[in-house]
């Protein structure tokens, strides 16, 4: 699958197995019933341009070692930036001590769902060009030339652009005998045009999605950057001149570049089993989709099919094995519109007597414990569904929304409100111009039950985000959401100027 066949030599040159073996043996001898060890290196590059000139540039590497144990049914964890056999043993002792200290407060016995073991395995994500092998000036030139194209237009006063790229290397070993080493690469680039004038200011940005690609993502053959940049000034000028939306109920045709985020918030987070049973209640919140709803709750319309997976090609949540040594899988979350599955890690799976974890454990750094994080959660297209053009033609009176912008949803994942980049008014099957100042707001189940048309495979796009937050201490995870375009009936549309009381 991958163009690369081995994890980079510099990471393999670290004392991976000697350190993880030492930590595992040490913790076991101190009374741990389970030990897992992660040695990680995550390198993140960021380049931001303001009006085609560099404003911010960082190159940040985080390296370290984390040791997690179970002693008498309680967790203990310790981490350090130093990777060595001595440090592995030392952290094992600290983690065991932490577990013993916390035992009086931990009344719930931790157990882990079983999983086959995987010895000395490697996995590399599917990318071509390591972004860290591309010179800074090449990256700068690419973003500057796209920015300058925007700035050359009379409709554009300012342009902002950034690219962020990550290489994540991870060695995992546990006391069951699993031992894996993985490497994955991802990239996100956004370019925004701003218009300033008597109207105040208005902006619009590119709709390109982040994905598990290398620098090849910035050529025009995978995503056509130059064509999108060429169209942006006209679209922005149209938005500046557009009428303010009249609030009320509308049929919405939502493009996958917007719908992925609605899926993320109203399905992705709502079907995390740890949330549903209360583990996130103090921070991210809980879920309306409690376990008594499994196989009963009509989440959405009958054709709605949502899957969870950790193996979509170029997916941001795609891995070989998760951070508890569980192999990547794909499963149903919503089938026939009914809630049929959750996202799990080994602890949560064992707690609800599920025979195997779906492999959703992830830690964003060696200094954080793995928690249940989101797999790629995707809405499947209707194999017989219409094209985008046919969907527009079928819409009598509605709004076609493209690109995500603002998002917010409540702590039980009922009430959400989203905005977007472009709002195209559709009348009698034709786009008649843009409107602006728009947000759509709904309750999760009302919204998904109102999904009247699911687009065909030709409308499908893999969207996603780098910055999904969860847990305390806070952790950030990348995740993809594939989806087709879809039509929703009678959705509440707000005018954001009226909401501001202006």
């Amino acid at each position: 699958m991958s163009k690369h066949t081995s994890v980079d030599a510099d990471f393999l040159a670290l004392p991976l197995e000697t350190t993880s073996n030492a930590a595992i043996d040490s913790a076991k001898s101190l009374g741990a019933s389970h030990v897992d060890v992660r040695i990680e290196k995550t390198r993140t590059g960021y380049l931001q341009l303001r009006d085609a000139k560099p404003e911010s540039q960082t190159d940040d590497s985080v390296v370290g070692l984390g040791v997690r144990v179970i002693v008498n049914g309680a967790w203990g964890f310790a981490s350090s930036p130093v990777i060595s056999v001595t440090k592995g043993k030392e952290l094992a002792a600290i983690a065991v001590a932490m577990a013993k200290t916390s035992k009086p407060l931990a009344t719930e016995e931790v157990a882990l769902a079983p999983e086959p073991t995987y010895a000395k395995k490697q996995w590399i994500s599917n990318y071509e060009i390591d972004p860290f092998e591309v010179s800074d000036s090449e990256k700068l030139d690419r973003l500057a030339s796209l920015s300058n194209k925007l700035l050359a237009s009379k409709s554009v006063n300012h342009a902002s652009a950034y690219t962020m790229y990550v290489k994540e290397q991870k060695h995992y070993a546990d006391s069951f005998g699993t031992n894996t080493t993985q490497q994955r690469v991802r990239i996100q680039t956004q370019i925004e045009a701003v218009s300033v004038g008597d109207h105040g200011f208005e902006s619009m940005r590119t709709l390109a999605q982040p994905a598990g690609f290398g620098w090849e993502w910035m050529r025009n053959d995978i995503y056509d950057w130059d064509s999108e940049i060429d169209e942006l000034p006209t679209l922005l000028a149209e938005k500046v001149a557009a009428p303010s939306v009249i609030p009320g109920k509308y049929d919405l045709l939502i493009d996958p570049t917007n719908l992925w985020l609605t899926i993320h918030e109203s399905i992705g987070h709502a079907t995390e089993l740890d949330r549903a049973i209360g583990y996130e209640a103090n921070y991210a919140g809980t879920s309306f989709a409690t376990v008594d709803n499994l196989n009963k709750l009509q989440y959405g319309s009958a054709k709605m099919h949502v899957t969870g997976d950790r193996n979509t090609d170029h997916g941001l949540s795609t891995v070989g094995w998760d951070d508890e040594g569980v192999a990547a899988q794909r499963w149903d979350i919503i089938k026939g519109g009914v809630l049929v599955g959750y996202q799990t890690d080994r602890r949560i799976a064992a707690r609800v007597n599920q025979e195997r974890s779906f492999g959703c454990a992830f830690a964003d750094s060696p200094s954080h414990v793995p928690i249940q994080r989101m797999p790629n959660v995707s809405l499947q297209p209707d194999s017989q569904g219409p094209t985008l053009a046919a969907m527009i033609s079928s819409l009598e009176d509605g709004i076609y929304i493209r690109g995500d912008k603002s998002w917010s949803i409540d702590m039980q994942r009922y009430n959400f409100q989203f905005t977007g980049q472009q709002f195209h008014r559709v009348k009698n099957g034709k786009i008649v111009g843009q409107v602006k100042d728009m947000a759509y707001q709904a309750t999760t189940t009302d919204f998904w039950r109102s999904m009247k048309v699911i687009g065909g495979p030709s409308t499908y796009v893999l969207g996603g985000a780098f910055n999904c937050g969860k847990g305390q201490p806070g952790q950030v995870a990348p995740v993809s959401h594939g989806c087709p375009a879809a039509i929703f009936e009678n959705v509440n549309v707000l005018n954001t100027v009226a909401e501001a009381g202006e």
């Binding site: 300012h158 209360g278 707001q441």
Partner: protein, 460 residues
Amino acid sequence: MISAQELIERITSAATCDECIVIVTETSQANLRWANSTLTTNGVILQRSVTVLAFVAVDGGMAAGGVTRTDVAISEIDAVLKEAIASAHSAGAADDAAKIAKNIVIGNWSDAHNPTGPDVFAKVAPDLGDMFKGSVADGIELFGYAEHTHKTTWVGSKGGIRARYDQPAGRVEMTGKSHNRTRSTFEGVATRDFSNVSIANVDANIRKRLQWQANKIEIPAGKYDTVLPANAIGDLILYMLWSAGARDAHEGRSAFSKKGGGTRIGDILSSLPLHVYSDSAYKGLESIPFVASAASSSLSSVFDNGQSLKRNDFIKNGKLSSLLQTQSSAKITSLPYTPVGDNFIVEVDGASGAIEDLVHKVDDGLLLTTMWYIREVDPSSLLLTGLTRDGVYRVKGGEVVGAVNNFRWNESPIALLSRIAHVGTSEITQLREWAEDYDRCAAPPMVIKDFNMSTVSPAN
């Protein structure tokens, strides 16, 4: 690992570029997390971060480039410097170039990092255990988090900056739920060393608020006179500060831009003697007194490292008096250099009273506990959206008469400054929405007229 100070000396003296600034941070942290009244995770974290910034004279000015690593071994110093210098050359003359401070000495440079650890919980952990037991017995479920962090920052340069600061920070967050999770409340405590944390007080507040929720009243969306606690005022004003970059305002790209050009500095935002300011010496919120910037952005510049952070008023006597500046943006905007420090204070002259006193002044309105999921909807008015969370109470005739449903609200923090009906005493408060991102805030509770509760949220 060699010491931070030795590392800085070695890197700055090996640097062949025109100027070199090295920022080392060492962070230690202990944390406890619980849910369903049992401890779920815990951790001890030790981290180092080394940023090497190279400054190089190039055609048209000065260029800057930087790399950040978990650590830099002696054998890696030359390679890291080379990378930073190469990065500066490829970036070219920096847009934010400015005079770099020299020969500044602040703090006890040579002291080692003083780590925190699980011992900091010696008093609260047994108290938490007692609270867990008591709450289980009374049908209350507890969910929460305790964190303590020590962070040491060293900024050293080839030009003689030797500045060091130690920042303690911590908090306890507690969510209490009862009656099949149909009732929910929250209490947050900000702390620097856990000496001021009383689990007994947290327990009493949780119980009182859950009791308030015995009488549930459904009310529709609408505009209500609303008592906002200090934590909610802090969460809203912080977003406003993050959106107050001077250059963005000058270029017409922010809610602080004046239509037709220029910034809104001088505009009256509130008719009250309201002050919003940052002050690194504010008692109980002491924060880093100098700039430590590992990367430039619209609000920060690597050229400003070592500049001093004194009191800076953002709003003074109700008037917008400054915006967030770098040395470079101050030149572009022809305004004074007004950098913002790592704390902020909201206060109104002459205001007094606690939140209970404000409740007594409301004839017909709402009392909030916290806000959640705050996001920008429209940057031109700084319209934000968010939810009420963990308890909204109906206030009638100055008394809490029951609990109502949650709401999604849409409001601009700038606009609501002109609708302040009553204000209490400023207090050090624990933010809810931005707890992870920001530690030091003092704010008063306020009553805001006609707060826009846009739609109902059925969430508990």
